[in-house]
Symmetry: C2
Subunit: 341 residues, 2 copies
DNA sequence: TGTTAGCACTCTAAAGACTTGAGTGCTAAC
DNA sequence: GTTAGCACTCAAGTCTTTAGAGTGCTAACA
C-alpha cells in the first residue's frame, strides 16, 4: 500500500524522532539518511504520508512526528527475530547472578533489569500460585488457638498464613488434617480440585465440623497466593525520558501505577500469544493514550506462567524493547526453573 | 537569648514560609500576624535575626527564609505533647482496618499512611528477626535432595528458605534435627544463642556431620531475616512539594532512596530515644542537606523494635509531622501486637 | 530610646518586542 | 517526476521594560 520510498521515509522519520524526541523535518531527514532525493521531494512524500494518516503535524511549521498508525506500520514491519546485543546479554546474565539469590527475587529483579535496559517502566506479572500444583501443607503451632499454615507448591513457592484453630480442635487435629490433605492433593492443580477429591478428604477426616474448618483454612491459606503478583521497576529511569520532564505528568503515571488492580487488568487484556504491542491511542485507557505497552508472556513446561511488559511514551525504542522482551520471553522459564532446581 | 518579640517574629517567619514556600517580608508578616508593631520595626528585628544566624537572605531585596538554626530554634520551642487532629486519627484507624490483613502488611501500609498525611516521603525500618525469640523450625520436603526450612518467631514472623539436604541425610533426619532444635531453642533470642545450648544440640544430634549441616541450615535460614527491612512510601506525594517540581531533583532523591543500605544507615544514625529531628545542613550526607529527617522509634514490651521516619524538604510542617510520628510511636507497638494477637 | 513613616534603591518575575532558525507549501523550471 | 527558490509560519531565545515586593537608612515622633 505504501511504495518503497514512502516506507523508507516513514521508517526514517520514526527512527529520527525516537532518538531525538524532536519533530523531524525534510532537511534533517535528507541530511541524516541516504535517501537519494532532495528535501523538497521528501517534503512532498511527507505531505502524502500525512494525508494517509501515518504522520502528524503539531503546528503548520514544525517537523513531523509519527502517528499511532505510523508507529504501527513501523512496528509491524520490523523483521523478526530481533537481536539482543552481546553487551545486554552479558548484563542480563550478570544481573541475575549478582542480585537473585531466592526464587521470589527473580521477578522484582527482572522488572528492574528490563527498565534498566529500556529506560522505561517495566512491569512483571508473576505466576499465579493457583496455577501451580499442590505439594505440601504443614502447620506450625503459634499458641493455644492459632497456628501458621505453610503451603508449598511444585514451582517452589511458599505461602504462609496465620489461621485460627477450629473451635474445640487442638494442634494434633491440625496435623492429622495436614496429613489427609497432603495425601489427597499431592500433585493436583490448586486451581481446580475435583469434587471427588474433596469428598474423599471429607470421609477421611470424619468429623464434619473439622472438615468445614479445614476447607476454610485451605482456601484462606490459598487466598493470598491466588492473586497474580505485580512487580514494578524503573520509575527512576522513566524520568530520563523527555516526555516525563514535567512533574505533573510523572505524578499522573505514578498514581496510575499505584492502582495495582487496574494495571493487572491492563496487562491481562493486552497480552497476546507472544509479543504484543499496543501503541498510543490504541490503548483503551485514556490516561495512557500517549504511551505504548509491549507485553510478552513466558512459559514453563509449555504452560503460561506470567507476563513481562514495558510501558513507555509512544516515542519508544520499539525494536530494542521488543527484542529484549522476546529474549526474556524465551529465557525466563529456564531462569525460574534454575532457581526452583 | 532571644527576646520575646524576636521569638514571635521568628516563629511567624517559619510558619509563613512553611505554608507559602515563598520568602516572607516584613509587610506580609505584619499583615498576617497580629504582632502589634509596624513593618519597619519588624524589618529591624528581622535584620537582627539575620545577624544572629536565624534567618537568611537570598538576594538583597527578597523576603527572608529561616536558616537551619532558625528551624532548630522553632522546633525546639514546639511544646509537647502535640495533638493529632481527630480527622487524622480516624483516617489512621480506618487505614489499618481497610488495608492491613496480615502482620507483614503493617509496615508498608504505615509508610504509605504517614506519607499520605505528611505529603512527604516516609520510611519505616521494621523489626529485626534476630531480635525476636525463636519459636519453631520445621522442614517441608521439596524433593530428594532439598527441603524448605520454615522459621517462626514469637513476634509472629515467618521466614522460609530452601536448603540443600546434607549429604547422605534423608528427610527423617531433618525432622529429628528440627525436633532437637525446637526443644533447645524455644523462647531463646535468636541474636545470641549461648554456647552451652549449641553444645547441647550437638550432643543430642550425635552425628557430627549432621550437626555441622544443621548449624549451616539454621544460619542460612536466619540470614534473610537478620536484616532490618526498609519500607518506603509516598514518592508520589513528594511531588506535591514545590521543592520537587524539578525532575532532576526528584531523580536525585529517588536514586538515593534506592540505596537501601545507605538509607538504613542514615536512619539508624539519626534515631534517638523518642522523636529526633535533623534539619537541613545538620545532615551529614551532602545529598540531603536541603532536607530534614524526623525519626521516631517504636517499642513492644519495652524493647526497641523499629523506626518510623519522615523525609522532606527543610521547609516542612514540623509540628504536624512530629505530632503524627509521636502518635505512631505510641501506637505502633499496640498495632503490631494486635496483628500478632 | 524605641518605634515609625518616608523614600531611594534593589532585585525578580512577568510581559512585550525582536530576531533567528527550522520547517512548510507552492510555483516554476529542469 | 524531481528539484530549486521563495514567501510564509511558528517556537524559542534574547533584550527591554515595567510592576511589585522588599530592604535599609534617615529623620521625626512619643
Amino acid at each position: 500500500m505504501l511504495d518503497e520510498r514512502k516506507q523508507r521515509i516513514l521508517e526514517a522519520v520514526v527512527q529520527d524522532y525516537v532518538s531525538s524526541a524532536e519533530p523531524v523535518g525534510s532537511r534533517t531527514l535528507a541530511r541524516r539518511h541516504d535517501l537519494g532525493v532532495s528535501p523538497a521531494t521528501i517534503r512532498n512524500e511527507m505531505a502524502d504520508l500525512e494525508m494517509l494518516g501515518y504522520l502528524e503535524h503539531i503546528h503548520t511549521s514544525s517537523g513531523r512526528i509519527p502517528s499511532a498508525k505510523g508507529y504501527r506500520f513501523y512496528v509491524d514491519g520490523l523483521k523478526m527475530p530481533m537481536k539482543v546485543s552481546d553487551e545486554d546479554k552479558s548484563l542480563i546474565a550478570d544481573w541475575y547472578k549478582a542480585k537473585v539469590k531466592r526464587i521470589d527475587e527473580v521477578f522484582q529483579e527482572t522488572a528492574r533489569l528490563i527498565s534498566r535496559v529500556t529506560k522505561n517502566v517495566s512491569l512483571v506479572l508473576a505466576p499465579q500460585l493457583s496455577q501451580a500444583a499442590f505439594r505440601c501443607l504443614q502447620f506450625l503451632p503459634l499458641d493455644d488457638h492459632r497456628a501458621i499454615a505453610v503451603l508449598l507448591t511444585d514451582a517452589g513457592f511458599v505461602e504462609n498464613k496465620m489461621v485460627e484453630m477450629p473451635k474445640g480442635a487442638e494442634f494434633p487435629d491440625l496435623q492429622r488434617l495436614a496429613a489427609v490433605i497432603n495425601k489427597s492433593l499431592a500433585g493436583k492443580k490448586l486451581q481446580a480440585i475435583p469434587e471427588s477429591t474433596l469428598q474423599f478428604i471429607r470421609q477421611e477426616i470424619g468429623d464434619e465440623e473439622l472438615y468445614a474448618a479445614a476447607m476454610e483454612i485451605l482456601w484462606r491459606a490459598l487466598d493470598t497466593g491466588k492473586k497474580e503478583r505485580l512487580y514494578l521497576g524503573g520509575t527512576t529511569h522513566m524520568l530520563e525520558q523527555p516526555e516525563f520532564h514535567d512533574v505533573s505528568r510523572v505524578k499522573e503515571i505514578l498514581l496510575m501505577l499505584e492502582e495495582e488492580e487496574l494495571i493487572k487488568d491492563i496487562l491481562r487484556a493486552h497480552r497476546g500469544d507472544g509479543l504484543a504491542v499496543t501503541i498510543g491511542t490504541e490503548n483503551e485507557n485514556a490516561r495512557i493514550q500517549d504511551c505504548s505497552i509491549i507485553t510478552a508472556t513466558y512459559h514453563l513446561d509449555g504452560e503460561l506462567l506470567g507476563t513481562v511488559a514495558v510501558l513507555g511514551p509512544t516515542r519508544m525504542e520499539y525494536a530494542k524493547a521488543m527484542s529484549l522482551l522476546n529474549y526474556m520471553n524465551a529465557n525466563l522459564g529456564a531462569i525460574v526453573q534454575h532457581y526452583i532446581g
